[in-house]
Symmetry: C2
Subunit: 214 residues, 2 copies
């Protein structure tokens, strides 16, 4: 494969993978479903390499130019603070990012003191808590932030999907920060260099998405 | 509960949880198995709080004094470079940390150039690659490093458990760095302050482990 014509496309592992895979099939890409624990999507597209990465790693992979294109969720594009161009909102994998507190805690009481916030989203949390004019400490986590309140943190900032984990851990939503969904992103320099290939890729997805009821 | 007498114990989520839970039961702690997605272990131990966190977050939680004791794997104690005292090696959750490369790559050829290494273990990888006198770039990942070679990295440094993911992604082990297993750790200052409680906790586990065939 000539790297000049090759498009490198990063796909997200986990809950978002099947959404992306189905859209790609619908867009006409000839792909084989990868076996479990195999991080490559075999395809008949000679000029496209599809590989699977952790969702949160995809925007840095695209921003650094290791990948040309990536499918990843808006929350991690925002959290990673990287320079990428968003080409499409695929309007699937829709989740809320929320600030949640223990169900027995009164907000009025909480906000009178320095707030301890456990979160995977350190940048998003800082921005939000600064905006609320609160004094705060952040405990950075790698996930399962729902474990922290009330003993170890006053608040979490986390993804809210079905709400099951929040409810099971006796938390309630205090504020909704924003809604995240799956996006197609491109490296800005690559977009200049491979505009034709990138636009052709985007166009196929765009047509496939038009048939999706929003 | 009087915080002076309360022991806060952090348990790891995921593959290590059932090992820890079974050892605690065997050590005589009266615990209820938590429902899925509930991050608290209810117990009849009035002076012990058991909560569940991501394995990699546990050594920082203990080092910062948020938790007194933690069960966590040696690889993440080493990677996090935190000051904790190791009380017991529980000799379960045994895995190797390895450097792996694509199966078709000749090591002799690989080592003549600057090596790109994808890994979750940035500190461990730097130490290893410095020791090997190699020039290198590290791509920090959040997991699934097996996806990177050969296009995106020459090497990965990762956990090797059953070997399934390494093999499925056409990799082979180049070097074994060390063996990791589950450890009981304590915060050094807490150990001074609550020595009696900590030693009593450790003793119970020690007796339970003696019945374990090594």
């Amino acid at each position: 494969m000539d790297p000049k014509n090759l498009l490198k496309v990063a796909l997200p592992k986990g809950r978002l993978f099947s959404d992306v895979f189905n859209i790609l099939l619908k867009a006409g890409f000839k792909l084989s479903k990868p076996p479990e624990k195999y991080f490559r999507v075999e395809s008949k597209e000679k000029n496209i390499l599809f590989k699977i990465f952790k969702n949160r790693d995809i925007s840095p992979l695209v921003a650094s130019g290791i990948y040309d294109l990536g499918f990843t969720s808006f929350d991690w594009i925002k959290e990673n603070r990287v320079e990428v161009v968003e080409l499409l909102d695929l309007r699937c994998g829709v989740v809320k990012i929320v600030a949640a507190i223990h169900r027995d805690v009164l907000v009025s009481k909480l906000l009178t003191k320095k707030v301890v916030c456990a979160t995977e989203y350190v940048h998003i949390a800082s921005e939000f808590l600064d905006g609320m004019k609160l004094k705060y400490n952040i405990i950075p986590t790698s996930g399962s932030s729902e474990s922290y309140p009330p003993e170890d943190s006053d608040m979490i900032i986390d993804i809210y999907n079905t709400g099951e984990t929040v409810k099971k851990n006796n938390l309630k939503i205090w504020q909704e920060l924003f809604t995240s969904s799956l996006r197609l992103i491109v490296n800005p320099k690559i977009y200049e260099q491979k505009g034709r290939e990138v636009n052709s890729f985007k166009e196929k997805l765009w047509i496939a998405l038009k048939g999706k009821s929003f």
